[in-house]
Protein backbone atom coordinates (compact mmCIF):
# COMPACT_ATOMS: atom_id res chain seq x y z
CA UNK A 1 0.00 0.00 0.00
CA UNK A 2 1.38 3.44 -0.87
CA UNK A 3 1.93 5.59 2.15
CA UNK A 4 2.37 9.33 2.06
CA UNK A 5 3.52 11.10 5.21
CA UNK A 6 1.03 13.21 7.11
CA UNK A 7 1.74 16.76 8.10
CA UNK A 8 0.12 16.68 11.54
CA UNK A 9 0.46 20.46 11.97
CA UNK A 10 -1.66 21.17 8.90
CA UNK A 11 -5.46 20.92 9.08
CA UNK A 12 -6.66 17.58 7.81
CA UNK A 13 -8.75 19.21 5.12
CA UNK A 14 -8.45 22.66 3.60
CA UNK A 15 -10.76 23.89 0.85
CA UNK A 16 -9.43 27.04 -0.72
CA UNK A 17 -11.94 28.96 -2.86
CA UNK A 18 -13.17 25.90 -4.74
CA UNK A 19 -15.77 26.40 -7.46
CA UNK A 20 -17.64 24.03 -9.67
CA UNK A 21 -20.26 24.53 -12.38
CA UNK A 22 -22.85 21.85 -13.11
CA UNK A 23 -25.44 21.84 -15.87
CA UNK A 24 -24.29 25.28 -16.95
CA UNK A 25 -24.78 27.03 -13.61
CA UNK A 26 -22.48 27.50 -10.64
CA UNK A 27 -23.14 24.67 -8.17
CA UNK A 28 -20.39 25.71 -5.76
CA UNK A 29 -18.71 29.13 -5.75
CA UNK A 30 -15.50 30.17 -4.04
CA UNK A 31 -16.00 27.83 -1.08
CA UNK A 32 -13.34 27.86 1.62
CA UNK A 33 -13.42 25.62 4.66
CA UNK A 34 -10.99 23.85 6.99
CA UNK A 35 -11.47 20.74 9.06
CA UNK A 36 -9.26 19.45 11.88
CA UNK A 37 -8.75 15.86 12.97
CA UNK A 38 -11.53 14.63 15.25
CA UNK A 39 -13.89 17.44 14.23
CA UNK A 40 -17.44 16.79 13.02
CA UNK A 41 -18.89 19.39 10.68
CA UNK A 42 -22.44 19.42 9.38
CA UNK A 43 -23.17 20.82 5.95
CA UNK A 44 -26.65 22.29 5.77
CA UNK A 45 -28.55 23.75 2.87
CA UNK A 46 -31.76 23.47 0.91
CA UNK A 47 -31.95 21.18 -2.14
CA UNK A 48 -29.56 22.43 -4.83
CA UNK A 49 -27.44 24.40 -2.37
CA UNK A 50 -24.31 22.55 -3.51
CA UNK A 51 -23.85 20.11 -0.61
CA UNK A 52 -23.49 16.92 -2.67
CA UNK A 53 -21.25 18.64 -5.23
CA UNK A 54 -19.01 19.85 -2.40
CA UNK A 55 -18.83 16.40 -0.84
CA UNK A 56 -18.11 14.77 -4.23
CA UNK A 57 -15.17 17.12 -4.69
CA UNK A 58 -13.87 16.41 -1.19
CA UNK A 59 -14.21 12.66 -1.80
CA UNK A 60 -12.26 12.91 -5.06
CA UNK A 61 -15.13 11.85 -7.32
CA UNK A 62 -15.33 15.26 -9.00
CA UNK A 63 -12.68 17.86 -9.75
CA UNK A 64 -13.27 21.50 -8.91
CA UNK A 65 -13.14 23.92 -11.84
CA UNK A 66 -10.94 26.18 -9.75
CA UNK A 67 -9.49 26.44 -6.28
CA UNK A 68 -7.41 24.04 -4.23
CA UNK A 69 -8.04 21.15 -1.88
CA UNK A 70 -5.33 20.19 0.59
CA UNK A 71 -5.51 16.92 2.46
CA UNK A 72 -3.05 16.41 5.31
CA UNK A 73 -1.04 19.28 3.86
CA UNK A 74 -0.81 17.66 0.40
CA UNK A 75 -2.35 18.98 -2.80
CA UNK A 76 -5.25 16.56 -3.23
CA UNK A 77 -5.93 17.58 -6.82
CA UNK A 78 -2.35 16.72 -7.76
CA UNK A 79 -2.40 13.50 -5.74
CA UNK A 80 -5.91 12.04 -6.06
CA UNK A 81 -4.55 8.67 -4.93
CA UNK A 82 -4.52 10.12 -1.38
CA UNK A 83 -8.25 9.35 -1.32
CA UNK A 84 -7.56 5.62 -1.41
CA UNK A 85 -6.32 5.38 2.17
CA UNK A 86 -7.47 8.58 3.81
CA UNK A 87 -11.04 9.21 2.71
CA UNK A 88 -14.17 7.15 3.22
CA UNK A 89 -17.23 8.33 1.28
CA UNK A 90 -20.88 7.46 1.58
CA UNK A 91 -22.59 9.02 -1.46
CA UNK A 92 -26.23 10.05 -1.44
CA UNK A 93 -28.53 7.02 -1.95
CA UNK A 94 -25.55 4.66 -1.35
CA UNK A 95 -25.04 3.16 -4.84
CA UNK A 96 -24.08 -0.53 -4.89
CA UNK A 97 -22.97 -3.22 -7.32
CA UNK A 98 -26.25 -5.09 -7.30
CA UNK A 99 -24.79 -8.46 -8.35
CA UNK A 100 -22.45 -8.75 -5.36
CA UNK A 101 -23.44 -9.87 -1.90
CA UNK A 102 -22.61 -7.79 1.17
CA UNK A 103 -19.39 -9.66 1.94
CA UNK A 104 -18.15 -9.47 -1.67
CA UNK A 105 -19.02 -5.80 -1.69
CA UNK A 106 -16.87 -5.12 1.34
CA UNK A 107 -14.02 -7.20 -0.11
CA UNK A 108 -14.16 -5.28 -3.39
CA UNK A 109 -14.11 -1.93 -1.59
CA UNK A 110 -11.27 -3.10 0.61
CA UNK A 111 -9.17 -4.18 -2.37
CA UNK A 112 -9.86 -0.90 -4.18
CA UNK A 113 -8.62 0.86 -1.02
CA UNK A 114 -5.43 -1.23 -0.94
CA UNK A 115 -6.34 -3.82 1.71
CA UNK A 116 -5.19 -7.39 1.10
CA UNK A 117 -5.26 -10.85 2.69
CA UNK A 118 -5.54 -11.03 6.47
CA UNK A 119 -5.82 -7.26 6.88
CA UNK A 120 -8.80 -7.25 4.53
CA UNK A 121 -10.49 -10.17 6.29
CA UNK A 122 -9.99 -8.63 9.72
CA UNK A 123 -11.26 -5.23 8.59
CA UNK A 124 -14.30 -6.84 6.95
CA UNK A 125 -15.23 -8.91 9.98
CA UNK A 126 -14.76 -5.96 12.33
CA UNK A 127 -17.04 -3.68 10.31
CA UNK A 128 -19.64 -6.42 9.80
CA UNK A 129 -19.76 -6.86 13.57
CA UNK A 130 -19.76 -3.12 14.30
CA UNK A 131 -22.60 -2.35 11.88
CA UNK A 132 -24.51 -5.56 12.64
CA UNK A 133 -24.44 -6.77 9.05
CA UNK A 134 -23.85 -10.42 9.93
CA UNK A 135 -27.34 -11.61 8.98
CA UNK A 136 -27.03 -9.80 5.63
CA UNK A 137 -23.54 -10.94 4.64
CA UNK A 138 -24.74 -13.41 1.96
CA UNK A 139 -27.56 -11.21 0.68
CA UNK A 140 -27.21 -9.56 -2.72
CA UNK A 141 -26.70 -5.81 -2.47
CA UNK A 142 -29.34 -5.31 -5.16
CA UNK A 143 -32.14 -6.68 -2.98
CA UNK A 144 -31.28 -4.76 0.19
CA UNK A 145 -33.73 -2.17 1.49
CA UNK A 146 -32.60 1.46 1.28
CA UNK A 147 -31.79 1.48 5.00
CA UNK A 148 -29.71 -1.70 4.68
CA UNK A 149 -27.95 -0.24 1.65
CA UNK A 150 -27.17 2.83 3.67
CA UNK A 151 -25.55 0.65 6.34
CA UNK A 152 -23.58 -1.24 3.71
CA UNK A 153 -22.42 2.05 2.19
CA UNK A 154 -21.36 3.23 5.63
CA UNK A 155 -19.47 -0.03 6.20
CA UNK A 156 -17.64 0.43 2.87
CA UNK A 157 -16.74 4.00 3.84
CA UNK A 158 -15.35 2.91 7.22
CA UNK A 159 -13.69 -0.35 6.16
CA UNK A 160 -10.17 1.03 5.62
CA UNK A 161 -10.22 3.28 8.71
CA UNK A 162 -10.03 6.60 6.86
CA UNK A 163 -8.79 9.82 8.41
CA UNK A 164 -11.68 11.72 6.84
CA UNK A 165 -15.22 10.43 6.63
CA UNK A 166 -17.49 12.09 4.07
CA UNK A 167 -21.17 11.27 4.58
CA UNK A 168 -23.83 12.52 2.20
CA UNK A 169 -27.17 12.36 4.00
CA UNK A 170 -26.23 9.29 6.04
CA UNK A 171 -29.53 9.25 7.95
CA UNK A 172 -31.59 8.69 4.78
CA UNK A 173 -34.03 5.79 5.16
CA UNK A 174 -32.72 4.81 8.60
CA UNK A 175 -35.22 4.07 11.36
CA UNK A 176 -34.94 5.95 14.70
CA UNK A 177 -32.95 3.13 16.30
CA UNK A 178 -30.48 3.13 13.40
CA UNK A 179 -30.26 6.93 13.51
CA UNK A 180 -29.25 6.71 17.18
CA UNK A 181 -26.67 4.05 16.29
CA UNK A 182 -25.36 6.27 13.49
CA UNK A 183 -24.93 9.19 15.89
CA UNK A 184 -23.03 6.96 18.30
CA UNK A 185 -20.83 5.75 15.45
CA UNK A 186 -20.01 9.29 14.37
CA UNK A 187 -19.06 10.26 17.94
CA UNK A 188 -16.95 7.12 18.21
CA UNK A 189 -15.11 7.96 14.97
CA UNK A 190 -14.53 11.55 16.08
CA UNK A 191 -13.17 10.36 19.44
CA UNK A 192 -10.73 8.14 17.54
CA UNK A 193 -9.45 11.20 15.64
CA UNK A 194 -11.38 10.79 12.41
CA UNK A 195 -12.68 14.02 10.93
CA UNK A 196 -16.27 13.76 9.74
CA UNK A 197 -18.11 15.97 7.27
CA UNK A 198 -21.77 15.18 6.77
CA UNK A 199 -24.56 16.76 4.85
CA UNK A 200 -28.13 16.60 6.04
CA UNK A 201 -31.49 18.31 5.83
CA UNK A 202 -32.16 17.66 9.49
CA UNK A 203 -31.14 20.41 11.87
CA UNK A 204 -31.53 18.02 14.82
CA UNK A 205 -28.95 15.76 13.21
CA UNK A 206 -26.46 18.61 13.25
CA UNK A 207 -27.02 19.67 16.85
CA UNK A 208 -26.86 16.02 17.98
CA UNK A 209 -23.64 15.06 16.19
CA UNK A 210 -21.63 18.08 15.02
CA UNK A 211 -19.11 20.46 16.58
CA UNK A 212 -19.48 22.90 13.70
CA UNK A 213 -22.01 23.76 11.08
CA UNK A 214 -21.56 25.23 7.62
CA UNK A 215 -24.60 26.50 5.76
CA UNK A 216 -24.53 26.64 1.99
CA UNK A 217 -26.97 28.60 -0.10
CA UNK A 218 -26.87 28.78 -3.90
CA UNK A 219 -23.37 27.31 -3.89
CA UNK A 220 -21.92 29.84 -1.45
CA UNK A 221 -20.93 29.43 2.16
CA UNK A 222 -23.16 31.74 4.22
CA UNK A 223 -22.38 30.56 7.72
CA UNK A 224 -19.56 28.64 9.38
CA UNK A 225 -19.54 28.38 13.16
CA UNK A 226 -19.58 26.18 16.22
CA UNK A 227 -22.74 24.42 17.25
CA UNK A 228 -23.80 22.89 20.56
CA UNK A 229 -26.50 20.42 21.49
CA UNK A 230 -28.68 23.14 23.05
CA UNK A 231 -28.30 25.50 20.05
CA UNK A 232 -31.23 24.14 18.09
CA UNK A 233 -33.36 27.30 18.17
CA UNK A 234 -30.45 29.55 17.21
CA UNK A 235 -29.42 27.21 14.42
CA UNK A 236 -32.99 27.06 13.15
CA UNK A 237 -33.16 30.84 13.07
CA UNK A 238 -29.85 31.13 11.20
CA UNK A 239 -30.74 28.40 8.74
CA UNK A 240 -34.19 29.72 7.87
CA UNK A 241 -32.82 33.24 7.64
CA UNK A 242 -30.37 32.08 4.99
CA UNK A 243 -32.65 29.59 3.24
CA UNK A 244 -35.72 31.84 3.03
CA UNK A 245 -34.21 35.25 2.60
CA UNK A 246 -30.54 34.64 1.75
CA UNK A 247 -29.79 36.64 4.93
CA UNK A 248 -26.16 37.20 5.98
CA UNK A 249 -23.39 37.86 3.53
CA UNK A 250 -21.40 34.84 2.33
CA UNK A 251 -18.90 33.85 5.02
CA UNK A 252 -15.21 34.59 4.65
CA UNK A 253 -12.67 31.78 4.52
CA UNK A 254 -12.60 29.91 7.83
Amino acid sequence: MTSINSDVRAPLLQLDRISRRRAGRPAVSELSLTLERGQVIGLLGVNGAGKSTTLSMIAGALRPDSGAIRLDGHDFLEQPELARERIGWLPERAPVWAELNVEEHLDAHGRLRGLRGTALRQAREAIIERLELDTLRRRLAGVLSQGQRQRLGLACALLHKPALLVLDEPGNALDPVQVAALRALIHEQADAGTAVILSTHLLAEVTATCDRVAILHEGRLHHDGEVHADDHAALEQTFFGIAMHGATAPAQAA
Partner: protein, 251 residues
Amino acid sequence: MTALAVARLESRRLRVRPLGWVLAALTLAWLAWNFTLLLGSFLSTQVQRAALPDGPGFTDLVAVPLLAQLAQLAFVVVPLLGMSMLAGERRNGTLPLLFAAGLSPSRIVLGKYLALVGWLALWLLLTLAMPLALAGSTDLDFGKLAAATLGLALMLATLAAITLACSSFAPHPAIAAAVALVIGLALWSVNLGAQMAGLNGGVINWIAMSSHLQPMLRGLVSSADVLWFVLAAALALALAIRRLAGEKERG
Protein backbone atom coordinates in the same frame (compact mmCIF):
# COMPACT_ATOMS: atom_id res chain seq x y z
CA MET B 1 -2.27 -3.15 -8.24
CA THR B 2 -5.46 -1.13 -8.24
CA ALA B 3 -6.09 -2.03 -11.89
CA LEU B 4 -5.99 -5.65 -10.74
CA ALA B 5 -8.48 -4.85 -7.98
CA VAL B 6 -10.81 -3.38 -10.62
CA ALA B 7 -10.23 -6.45 -12.83
CA ARG B 8 -11.06 -8.74 -9.91
CA LEU B 9 -14.22 -6.82 -9.10
CA GLU B 10 -15.32 -6.84 -12.73
CA SER B 11 -14.52 -10.56 -13.16
CA ARG B 12 -16.62 -11.34 -10.11
CA ARG B 13 -19.50 -9.28 -11.52
CA LEU B 14 -19.21 -11.09 -14.87
CA ARG B 15 -19.18 -14.45 -13.07
CA VAL B 16 -22.34 -13.81 -11.06
CA ARG B 17 -24.36 -12.24 -13.87
CA PRO B 18 -26.45 -14.79 -15.79
CA LEU B 19 -25.81 -13.07 -19.13
CA GLY B 20 -22.19 -14.26 -19.33
CA TRP B 21 -23.12 -17.86 -18.56
CA VAL B 22 -26.09 -17.87 -20.95
CA LEU B 23 -23.96 -16.47 -23.76
CA ALA B 24 -21.16 -18.95 -23.05
CA ALA B 25 -23.57 -21.90 -22.89
CA LEU B 26 -25.44 -20.97 -26.08
CA THR B 27 -22.37 -20.17 -28.15
CA LEU B 28 -20.38 -23.20 -26.95
CA ALA B 29 -23.35 -25.46 -27.67
CA TRP B 30 -23.62 -23.95 -31.16
CA LEU B 31 -19.88 -24.34 -31.73
CA ALA B 32 -19.90 -27.92 -30.42
CA TRP B 33 -22.75 -28.79 -32.79
CA ASN B 34 -20.84 -27.25 -35.70
CA PHE B 35 -17.69 -29.06 -34.62
CA THR B 36 -19.47 -32.41 -34.92
CA LEU B 37 -20.80 -31.39 -38.36
CA LEU B 38 -17.35 -30.30 -39.55
CA LEU B 39 -15.85 -33.48 -38.13
CA GLY B 40 -18.48 -35.65 -39.82
CA SER B 41 -17.87 -33.94 -43.13
CA PHE B 42 -14.11 -34.34 -42.70
CA LEU B 43 -14.41 -38.05 -41.89
CA SER B 44 -16.74 -38.76 -44.83
CA THR B 45 -14.27 -37.36 -47.37
CA GLN B 46 -11.08 -38.44 -45.60
CA VAL B 47 -10.36 -41.36 -47.93
CA GLN B 48 -10.58 -39.27 -51.14
CA ARG B 49 -8.39 -36.53 -49.68
CA ALA B 50 -5.75 -38.99 -48.51
CA ALA B 51 -4.89 -39.51 -52.16
CA LEU B 52 -4.06 -35.80 -52.64
CA PRO B 53 -0.50 -34.75 -51.87
CA ASP B 54 -0.48 -31.73 -49.46
CA GLY B 55 -4.27 -31.73 -49.38
CA PRO B 56 -6.17 -29.96 -46.58
CA GLY B 57 -6.21 -31.84 -43.30
CA PHE B 58 -8.03 -31.78 -39.97
CA THR B 59 -6.66 -28.32 -39.06
CA ASP B 60 -7.81 -26.72 -42.35
CA LEU B 61 -11.18 -28.42 -42.51
CA VAL B 62 -12.25 -28.62 -38.86
CA ALA B 63 -10.14 -26.59 -36.40
CA VAL B 64 -9.71 -23.33 -38.34
CA PRO B 65 -13.33 -23.20 -39.65
CA LEU B 66 -14.48 -23.70 -36.06
CA LEU B 67 -12.38 -20.71 -34.96
CA ALA B 68 -13.77 -18.70 -37.89
CA GLN B 69 -17.27 -19.39 -36.57
CA LEU B 70 -16.17 -18.15 -33.16
CA ALA B 71 -14.98 -14.96 -34.86
CA GLN B 72 -18.48 -14.45 -36.33
CA LEU B 73 -20.14 -14.99 -32.95
CA ALA B 74 -17.68 -12.57 -31.32
CA PHE B 75 -19.26 -9.59 -33.11
CA VAL B 76 -22.38 -10.15 -30.99
CA VAL B 77 -20.99 -11.78 -27.85
CA VAL B 78 -18.28 -9.22 -27.02
CA PRO B 79 -20.61 -6.17 -27.16
CA LEU B 80 -23.20 -7.99 -25.03
CA LEU B 81 -20.62 -8.96 -22.43
CA GLY B 82 -18.93 -5.59 -22.20
CA MET B 83 -21.78 -3.16 -22.83
CA SER B 84 -22.49 -2.35 -19.18
CA MET B 85 -18.92 -2.15 -17.96
CA LEU B 86 -18.83 1.64 -17.98
CA ALA B 87 -22.30 2.65 -19.21
CA GLY B 88 -23.88 0.45 -16.51
CA GLU B 89 -21.62 1.87 -13.79
CA ARG B 90 -22.64 5.36 -14.85
CA ARG B 91 -26.36 4.52 -14.76
CA ASN B 92 -26.08 2.82 -11.35
CA GLY B 93 -24.11 5.71 -9.89
CA THR B 94 -21.18 3.44 -8.99
CA LEU B 95 -18.63 5.06 -11.31
CA PRO B 96 -17.92 7.86 -8.76
CA LEU B 97 -17.09 5.13 -6.20
CA LEU B 98 -14.16 4.12 -8.41
CA PHE B 99 -13.02 7.72 -8.87
CA ALA B 100 -13.29 8.27 -5.11
CA ALA B 101 -11.03 5.27 -4.49
CA GLY B 102 -8.23 7.34 -6.02
CA LEU B 103 -8.21 5.31 -9.24
CA SER B 104 -7.09 7.05 -12.40
CA PRO B 105 -9.30 6.64 -15.48
CA SER B 106 -6.55 4.58 -17.13
CA ARG B 107 -6.55 2.07 -14.25
CA ILE B 108 -10.32 1.81 -14.27
CA VAL B 109 -10.39 1.15 -18.02
CA LEU B 110 -7.41 -1.21 -17.89
CA GLY B 111 -8.92 -3.20 -15.03
CA LYS B 112 -12.23 -3.62 -16.82
CA TYR B 113 -10.44 -4.48 -20.05
CA LEU B 114 -8.41 -7.20 -18.32
CA ALA B 115 -11.57 -8.73 -16.86
CA LEU B 116 -13.34 -8.78 -20.23
CA VAL B 117 -10.30 -10.14 -22.06
CA GLY B 118 -9.90 -12.82 -19.36
CA TRP B 119 -13.48 -13.97 -19.91
CA LEU B 120 -13.02 -14.01 -23.69
CA ALA B 121 -9.75 -15.94 -23.35
CA LEU B 122 -11.64 -18.63 -21.42
CA TRP B 123 -14.27 -18.71 -24.17
CA LEU B 124 -11.55 -19.10 -26.81
CA LEU B 125 -9.78 -21.84 -24.82
CA LEU B 126 -13.00 -23.83 -24.36
CA THR B 127 -13.61 -23.65 -28.12
CA LEU B 128 -10.03 -24.61 -28.80
CA ALA B 129 -10.41 -27.60 -26.49
CA MET B 130 -12.74 -29.25 -29.06
CA PRO B 131 -10.15 -29.77 -31.84
CA LEU B 132 -7.36 -30.26 -29.27
CA ALA B 133 -9.32 -33.14 -27.73
CA LEU B 134 -8.65 -35.05 -30.94
CA ALA B 135 -4.95 -34.14 -31.09
CA GLY B 136 -3.94 -37.69 -30.18
CA SER B 137 -5.88 -39.31 -32.99
CA THR B 138 -5.44 -36.76 -35.81
CA ASP B 139 -2.55 -35.01 -37.44
CA LEU B 140 -2.98 -31.46 -36.11
CA ASP B 141 -0.90 -28.69 -37.69
CA PHE B 142 0.03 -26.94 -34.43
CA GLY B 143 1.78 -24.05 -36.17
CA LYS B 144 -1.29 -23.18 -38.23
CA LEU B 145 -3.57 -23.65 -35.25
CA ALA B 146 -1.37 -21.38 -33.12
CA ALA B 147 -1.44 -18.68 -35.81
CA ALA B 148 -5.23 -18.87 -36.07
CA THR B 149 -5.56 -18.79 -32.28
CA LEU B 150 -3.31 -15.74 -32.09
CA GLY B 151 -5.43 -14.02 -34.73
CA LEU B 152 -8.62 -14.84 -32.85
CA ALA B 153 -7.15 -13.67 -29.54
CA LEU B 154 -6.11 -10.37 -31.12
CA MET B 155 -9.51 -9.93 -32.71
CA LEU B 156 -11.32 -10.59 -29.41
CA ALA B 157 -9.00 -8.17 -27.60
CA THR B 158 -9.69 -5.50 -30.22
CA LEU B 159 -13.45 -6.00 -30.09
CA ALA B 160 -13.28 -5.84 -26.29
CA ALA B 161 -11.45 -2.50 -26.47
CA ILE B 162 -13.99 -1.13 -28.99
CA THR B 163 -16.86 -2.26 -26.74
CA LEU B 164 -15.30 -0.54 -23.72
CA ALA B 165 -14.85 2.65 -25.72
CA CYS B 166 -18.52 2.52 -26.78
CA SER B 167 -19.55 1.79 -23.19
CA SER B 168 -17.60 4.83 -22.00
CA PHE B 169 -19.46 7.14 -24.41
CA ALA B 170 -22.96 5.64 -24.40
CA PRO B 171 -25.58 6.72 -21.85
CA HIS B 172 -27.17 3.24 -21.86
CA PRO B 173 -25.59 -0.24 -22.10
CA ALA B 174 -27.89 -1.28 -24.97
CA ILE B 175 -26.73 1.69 -27.03
CA ALA B 176 -23.12 0.76 -26.28
CA ALA B 177 -23.74 -2.80 -27.50
CA ALA B 178 -25.49 -1.65 -30.68
CA VAL B 179 -22.77 0.86 -31.57
CA ALA B 180 -19.99 -1.66 -30.80
CA LEU B 181 -21.72 -4.20 -33.06
CA VAL B 182 -22.01 -1.67 -35.89
CA ILE B 183 -18.39 -0.52 -35.53
CA GLY B 184 -17.14 -4.12 -35.39
CA LEU B 185 -19.07 -5.14 -38.50
CA ALA B 186 -18.07 -1.93 -40.32
CA LEU B 187 -14.40 -2.55 -39.52
CA TRP B 188 -14.72 -6.11 -40.74
CA SER B 189 -16.42 -5.34 -44.03
CA VAL B 190 -15.24 -1.83 -44.89
CA ASN B 191 -13.27 -3.21 -47.85
CA LEU B 192 -16.04 -5.40 -49.30
CA GLY B 193 -16.84 -2.91 -52.04
CA ALA B 194 -13.18 -2.50 -52.92
CA GLN B 195 -12.70 -6.26 -53.09
CA MET B 196 -15.76 -6.65 -55.32
CA ALA B 197 -14.25 -4.03 -57.60
CA GLY B 198 -11.07 -6.10 -57.72
CA LEU B 199 -8.94 -3.83 -55.51
CA ASN B 200 -6.85 -5.93 -53.16
CA GLY B 201 -4.52 -3.29 -51.76
CA GLY B 202 -4.68 0.31 -50.61
CA VAL B 203 -5.75 2.08 -47.46
CA ILE B 204 -9.32 0.76 -47.49
CA ASN B 205 -8.09 -2.83 -47.39
CA TRP B 206 -5.56 -1.95 -44.68
CA ILE B 207 -8.31 -0.49 -42.51
CA ALA B 208 -10.44 -3.64 -42.72
CA MET B 209 -10.10 -6.10 -39.85
CA SER B 210 -10.71 -9.04 -42.18
CA SER B 211 -7.52 -8.21 -44.14
CA HIS B 212 -5.51 -8.81 -40.98
CA LEU B 213 -7.33 -11.82 -39.52
CA GLN B 214 -7.65 -13.94 -42.65
CA PRO B 215 -3.89 -14.38 -43.23
CA MET B 216 -3.57 -15.59 -39.63
CA LEU B 217 -6.42 -18.07 -40.11
CA ARG B 218 -4.36 -19.41 -43.06
CA GLY B 219 -1.34 -19.74 -40.78
CA LEU B 220 0.52 -16.58 -41.85
CA VAL B 221 1.54 -14.27 -39.01
CA SER B 222 3.03 -10.93 -39.96
CA SER B 223 4.08 -8.20 -37.57
CA ALA B 224 2.05 -5.68 -39.65
CA ASP B 225 -1.15 -7.61 -38.96
CA VAL B 226 -0.36 -7.95 -35.25
CA LEU B 227 0.44 -4.24 -35.13
CA TRP B 228 -2.94 -3.38 -36.69
CA PHE B 229 -4.79 -5.15 -33.90
CA VAL B 230 -2.56 -3.64 -31.22
CA LEU B 231 -3.04 -0.14 -32.65
CA ALA B 232 -6.80 -0.54 -32.99
CA ALA B 233 -7.14 -1.80 -29.41
CA ALA B 234 -4.81 0.91 -28.05
CA LEU B 235 -6.75 3.63 -29.87
CA ALA B 236 -10.08 2.38 -28.53
CA LEU B 237 -8.72 2.13 -24.97
CA ALA B 238 -7.20 5.61 -25.22
CA LEU B 239 -10.61 6.97 -26.28
CA ALA B 240 -12.28 5.24 -23.32
CA ILE B 241 -9.69 6.65 -20.90
CA ARG B 242 -10.04 10.13 -22.36
CA ARG B 243 -13.82 9.98 -22.08
CA LEU B 244 -13.63 8.84 -18.47
CA ALA B 245 -11.11 11.54 -17.58
CA GLY B 246 -13.41 14.09 -19.17
CA GLU B 247 -16.31 12.74 -17.15
CA LYS B 248 -14.43 13.24 -13.89
CA GLU B 249 -13.58 16.79 -15.00
CA ARG B 250 -17.09 17.67 -16.15
CA GLY B 251 -19.08 15.59 -13.69
